[in-house]
Symmetry: none
Subunit: 417 residues, 2 copies
Amino acid sequence: MREYNTEILSVGTELLLGHITNTDTRDISEMLSRIGVNVRYQTVVGDNPERLAQCVAIAKTRADVIITTGGLGPTCDDLTKQVLAESFGRKLVENAAEREGLYEYIRTGKDFTPNNFSQALLPEGCTVFHNRWGTAPGCAFEAEGKIVLMLPGPPNECVPMFREYGIPYLKKLSGEQILSHTVRIFGMGESAVDDLFAEEMNAMRNPSMAPYAKECDCLLKVTAKAKTEEEAEDMMAPVIAHVKEKLGEYVYGMDVECIEEAVLPLMKEKGLTFAAAESCTGGDVARRITEIPGASAVFLGGCVTYTNEVKSRLLGIDLELIEHNGAVSEPVARLMAERVRALTGADIGLGVTGLAGPDGDGVHEVGTVFVSMAVEGETYVRELRLGTFRTRSFIRRMAGNHLYDMMRRYLTGLKVL
Amino acid sequence: MREYNTEILSVGTELLLGHITNTDTRDISEMLSRIGVNVRYQTVVGDNPERLAQCVAIAKTRADVIITTGGLGPTCDDLTKQVLAESFGRKLVENAAEREGLYEYIRTGKDFTPNNFSQALLPEGCTVFHNRWGTAPGCAFEAEGKIVLMLPGPPNECVPMFREYGIPYLKKLSGEQILSHTVRIFGMGESAVDDLFAEEMNAMRNPSMAPYAKECDCLLKVTAKAKTEEEAEDMMAPVIAHVKEKLGEYVYGMDVECIEEAVLPLMKEKGLTFAAAESCTGGDVARRITEIPGASAVFLGGCVTYTNEVKSRLLGIDLELIEHNGAVSEPVARLMAERVRALTGADIGLGVTGLAGPDGDGVHEVGTVFVSMAVEGETYVRELRLGTFRTRSFIRRMAGNHLYDMMRRYLTGLKVL
């Protein structure tokens, strides 16, 4: 089977200035590695036609697939299509459907100026990747024995477009299937997971297995390469069963992105609802579940009570009790969960109060957080020490993970504390 | 004055697999842009000596400064020094001080194996960058008219080493400062901004100006290159004044990352507080302001009311009124802002109710959102049509931007609607 060596060529002066991080390249590389396409080079060049043309010339000498990101927009900086088309001897022609699409866009009442229509110019004979996430379309074509894909730069356009159009386009070229499953883990760090499986992992080739650290949890990725998807699945099944057995209750889900994504179907299954009263997380616990479509089936709402007075006004917690125990305390966390549960009529009430930093309160160290869960007849409280050297955003996210972990444990019959 | 064109060459297969993000390159680029060194190319290549040697050969043809990251460690994958030394005809010799340093490190009781001593091998005649953050030293040398710097890959070693050794080393070579300011814009798209300034931008060289699209707003970046920081600031001042005048009330801030970051100091200045009642944004409006340290001075809290019943239970909005008008309606938005203001005792109450999708409600199209702001004696409501083709997360973020924009306009005496 032919190997498809790939170069990703990102175009954008803002990358060279360090103003933005090249997450597009990371995400494209990660998706390519999953379907067995080798990325050999990643190059970044500015919005300069001569230097871009030189980079394309170099890429032609060393890659079979050239994927560009950025430079497809309507401004005068945006020159990727022009340079690539010229470099491969293709004309740019106006695509009628895309021009129509731009008209559609105008009708939504968005700002639109004549130079936007330059986005409908595409290399002759290309496969158009219609952009449902923004305006600039991407495309793919084959020329001079090379495969060229062009994607817009903004990550919220580039990544879904590559997933939806780029990967299927390239998959047709490769005769192999590489599939992966991820086992998501909470409560055990990457190095502990690594230690647990080190020997087996070193001995494994296909399927293979590797641990990855995420910001506030970690995962084990199992990957298999085979002629068919079924064969790859069959190769992975026993490995995944073994991993799940060995990790036991630390596993919160398979092929999910975050713990709340694992909790949502558990709640739906049982027909339960929840609500949250948040202090230091400032709405992030609610934001996370409501980021998922369909959350309204299980999440009712709740309160963000950022000051003592609002804890008292919205949740009816006695101000004296707060002042006596401190806002960051077990009794306040307990009452927050219980009161939000009663107020909203939810089956499960969550509470969280703590110190996300960077400033302390003179009493607790930064990273001290109380998370609580009230259910019929019982309230659970976990006291967390998330580390004084952690960022505000880490502490907030980790506190939320603990809340969702408490729910998961409760819903699956595991010990909550 | 000579220009120092730079190429950053990152070595590491894990980058090509998308397992890690290339933050080293971003951070180095950002530091270089501040001292007026142009980064022209950023290249990533795997742990493969032939391909690395080819990349070095290309870098020699197009850069004056070559900065490598990664591949300096003790394992057999680590070959950057060998390849660079060979490519520039330098021998690797053992550095006695660094070997001593490695002995020191052993005494701290860390894991250490004999191959660790390979880290003390460095190109003959180089300037050694001692690594206080890990074990592998970096270095710099000049050869064939090029300047070569080598840094270890782990970001917590690479970044401080470049800051402490790399920047001073290069500063001696460059006499220039590059500074930038960003003008943040809400309510006008990137292409409209581009249209407005296209002619001027094309004519400008130094200072220069370019528009950038962000997910839900956009910015104009003004950059100047000069001998001193003062001179660069003086060159930018009239351009920024002109831009601000031309864009008028669309400008929400300078050198900030988001609109809430501009609103926070305005609120502090006036000693005002606010609270939010959120439906479709599900806590995101609260999350955004509380992401910023010091938010507790102006943000009291609020409610997430994801269901009609909870809108009634927490905010006391009549269920019949909700059912009669629909939850996504002007009267409900109005009451949400007014009630949360009254409940919390805040100066400003915000409300937001809408359809973030992907599913519709059979009445409104996805992207229909009502945002509201209640102040003493007045309540403002904006009806938004954010577009049926937008993602859930875009609609939620954009709705929040409109709320913060209403606050900004109110606080600075502009027309709110």
